[in-house]
Symmetry: C2
Subunit: 110 residues, 2 copies
DNA sequence: GTGGCATACTTTGACAATCTAGGTATCAGG
DNA sequence: CCTGATACCTAGATTGTCAAAGTATGCCAC
């Protein structure tokens, strides 16, 4: 127990991936690093969570993928947010905000 | 789609139940109503989610249950937060706060 | 040059939590 | 008497995450 890393709640991962990609095209492994870095090491996405999620998200048309070689000379699969994906990110952020608000209301109760 | 009710994320339900019970002993059906009311109708807990959750929570010793008759003359199973449950509520609230903070950090990124 | 580590992707199976959808029973109001 | 709200319970399906494998490459230290 006593984890310093917050566990992900189901449903938040898609939003985080989309957000990471909204900052620019990126490959899978890089998405993990970007999320970890942006969250000040608080969020750690497992590879076994990420890749299936990316597959799901691609099937839904929220991202498009292509294989490419990056500056280091290594091959990687680069993901890019589609227009639909950008819309979806907005939706998920709004829905997250609603949830956070709703839970805050419950917690305010005395 | 386009739900006005926020969907619960896995892991938040326990916290909501514990919070509802922290305001006083209550029976299952009442917990649903209290959460709905406190959240301004934003959160709707399904019975099929609540009762298994209550069972889980009771097994863990976070609440104690007893059958009783309330003023309306009807029988109901009343749940009460235990000392351990109160501790657990604090833990879950802290962990929720951490997650909300971490996600906020990611979302701040430009 | 080779051993180990970080990078990079994939798949499998287990697990946990929620929801849908059904069921039972009581009580109040029209 | 019939409906709807109250009150509880359960089975089954679904979903998302995680742990734990495996593969392969490039780089650096020794």
């Amino acid at each position: 127990m006593a984890k310093n890393k917050a566990e992900l709640l189901q449903g938040t991962l898609d939003m985080l991936i989309l957000k990471a990609l909204s900052l620019g095209e990126l490959h899978g492994y890089g998405i993990i690093q970007r999320i970890r870095q942006l969250s000040d090491e608080m969020l750690n996405v497992e590879q076994g969570s990420l890749y299936p999620a990316l597959y799901r998200i691609e099937q839904k048309g929220w991202v498009s993928a292509r294989w490419d070689v990056h500056e280091t000379g290594r091959e990687a699969k680069f993901y890019k947010l589609t227009r639909v994906g950008r819309k979806q990110l907005e939706t998920e952020e709004a829905s997250w905000d609603r949830l956070v608000l709703a839970i805050a209301k419950v917690r305010q109760a005395t």
